[in-house]
């Protein structure tokens, strides 16, 4: 257990070096991703303007802030894809991982965690351009910046585990594509990715309270753009912590069963 920090450090260094090699590929990927929030942003600023400048507390300027911060949060949300599990199982990668003395979750957290440093670095110029073009209203306090800095990592951990759990379904059935599709559709609508949650109908917003999605997307964004009262700002971090612990417990429970199942069919 004492070796774990060293393993993390090593893996993170490795992924940073690896991803720095693919700068151009990373950039194309990140720029392609920008189309999505820009579309939402344009649509909603148009709505705000048609309603005399404001819709549900958002102005064109705060929408710009929301969707620009969105781009960083979206990048933090990228973790090992559930579609990758089939590949891991089929190509025997998992058999290798299982031989190692530490839990495979650590590898994914460390690898993607390291990559995030590259992503954040590369995101800065993109953000600068978006800020120049869309003129966001963004004036966070020091506390909000601090909470945001923690919340994006909370989002990363929650989504890592949520998608791990989703991907592990591959141990039981190969027809997982449908489940993934539905999951991602629900996530898109109820996380704050498509539209700020406060603009959804009341019942949908309440539904989102019972799901982990908003803590990976809407919450970090709202923390920085300053739409949250202090209690919710700090309470959100606790909620994130709760979901992380729930995720860890669930991964632990499911992983034990999954591995037993794997050895039955695999080697």
């Amino acid at each position: 257990m004492r070796a774990l920090p060293a393993v993390y450090l090593g893996l993170m260094k490795l992924s940073i070096q690896e991803q720095l090699q693919y700068r151009v590929a990373n950039y194309f990927y990140m720029i392609g991703m920008i189309a999505e929030p820009v579309i939402y942003l344009v649509v909603w600023s148009t709505v705000a303007r048609e309603r005399g400048g404001e819709v549900g507390g958002y102005t064109a300027g705060t929408f710009a802030a929301y969707y620009i911060v969105w781009t960083l949060v979206r990048n933090m949300n990228i973790v090992f894809t559930p579609y990758g599990w089939e590949w891991r199982i089929r190509h025997g990668r998992l058999a290798i991982d299982l031989l190692r003395p530490i839990h495979p979750l650590h590898y994914d957290v460390a690898y993607f965690g390291g990559w995030k440093f590259v992503v954040i670095l590369m995101w800065l110029p993109i953000a600068a351009v978006l800020i120049l073009v869309f003129r966001p209203t963004l004036d966070p306090t020091l506390l909000e910046v601090g909470v945001f800095a923690l919340a994006i990592w909370g989002a990363f951990f929650i989504r890592t585990m949520a998608l791990w759990l989703l991907g592990m379904i591959s141990f039981w059935t190969v027809r997982v594509g449908a489940i993934f599709e539905l999951y991602f559709a629900a996530e898109l609508l109820l996380s704050g990715r498509l539209v700020p949650l406060s603009l959804l109908p009341d019942w949908a917003e309440r539904l989102a309270d019972f799901l982990p999605f908003r803590w990976t997307f809407g919450y970090p964004i709202e923390a920085l753009i300053g739409t949250l009262p202090p209690a919710e700002l700090l309470g959100g971090l606790l909620a994130q912590l709760g979901w992380i612990i729930a995720g860890l417990v669930a991964v632990r429970l499911l992983w034990g069963r999954a591995v037993r199942r794997f050895s039955a069919v695999g080697m």
Binding site: M33, V42, V55, A178, L194
Partner: protein
């Protein structure tokens, strides 16, 4: 004529080949349905707060979504698979097999692949249009339908030329797959009429990536907004793009070194 027969033959072989995999139909159906669902929710949330977006009402934006789905289906059934195959062939040097055949190489590389199950989106788009068109304020007469089909054809040809120009870049740059992702991101902008975007973006979506001509212009034909000037402009630009892509393709092939020789 011979070239059309060739294209038809390739289409039939590929279709038969893919029709073996029935389960893929349901996967595609589910994907199309979730895309439609999220698209509709997006529209519904927007129209909770407003009655029109830059002069486009709900029915009209539904028509735009229909055209967007339809054109997207056309692209993914015919254009995209061929261009992906071309990129792979250039990367692995297997393009030799196409170039050494007696038929025109550009035609050959443009008709080799077809993904029939993606046609679910074409059907879905038509269904959305069937729901949207009766909700429009204007009656859609035969002239509008003809203009719509013409605009759709022009838009499709422009997207094809655009893709061919980009893909031909693979002759020099080899790895072009990220460009695909860039296009897919840009294409999503077509879900809304390009008129709502700021000028610089609208210009890009019209002339750089012809999303405007592929989605917005056909939708304008249906909603009674299309002017003769726009249609003439589309014809002119389409001819220009076809010519440029043809020339560019020839330059590209000349610099292709092959790998097997």
């Amino acid at each position: 004529m011979r070239l059309f027969r060739l294209a038809w033959l390739f289409f039939r072989i590929n279709a038969l080949n893919e029709l073996q995999y029935r389960a893929n139909f349901f996967v595609q159906l589910l994907q199309s349905l979730t895309a439609l669902g999220t698209g509709l929710v997006g529209l519904a949330v927007v129209f909770d707060y407003t009655d029109s977006l830059r002069g486009w009402g709900f029915g009209e934006l539904l028509a735009v979504l229909g055209v967007y789905t339809l054109t997207g289906g056309l692209i993914r059934t015919t254009i995209q698979p061929n261009m992906e195959r071309l990129m792979d062939d250039v990367q692995r040097g297997t393009l030799d097999y196409a170039l050494t055949k007696p038929a025109d190489a550009q035609v050959l590389i443009s008709v080799r692949e077809v993904r029939v199950w993606q046609a679910v989106d074409i059907v879905m788009g038509l269904l959305i249009l069937a729901v949207a068109v009766p909700r429009l304020d204007v009656a859609v007469g035969p002239v509008a339908v003809a203009a719509f089909l013409l605009a759709l054809l022009l838009g499709g040809l422009m997207i094809y030329s655009f893709w061919l120009i980009i893909t031909t870049g693979a002759f020099w740059l080899v790895r072009m797959h990220n460009v695909l992702e860039l296009f897919q991101g840009m294409y999503r902008a077509g879900q809304w009429p390009v008129g709502i975007y700021p000028t610089w973006l609208r210009t890009g979506l019209t002339f750089l990536v012809p999303v405007a001509f592929a989605v917005t212009v056909p939708a304008e034909a249906l909603t009674g907004r299309l002017t003769v000037q726009t249609l003439l402009g589309a014809i002119g630009l389409c001819a220009l793009l076809l010519a440029v892509s043809r020339l560019w393709w020839r330059v590209g092939v000349r610099s292709y070194a092959g790998a097997s020789a």
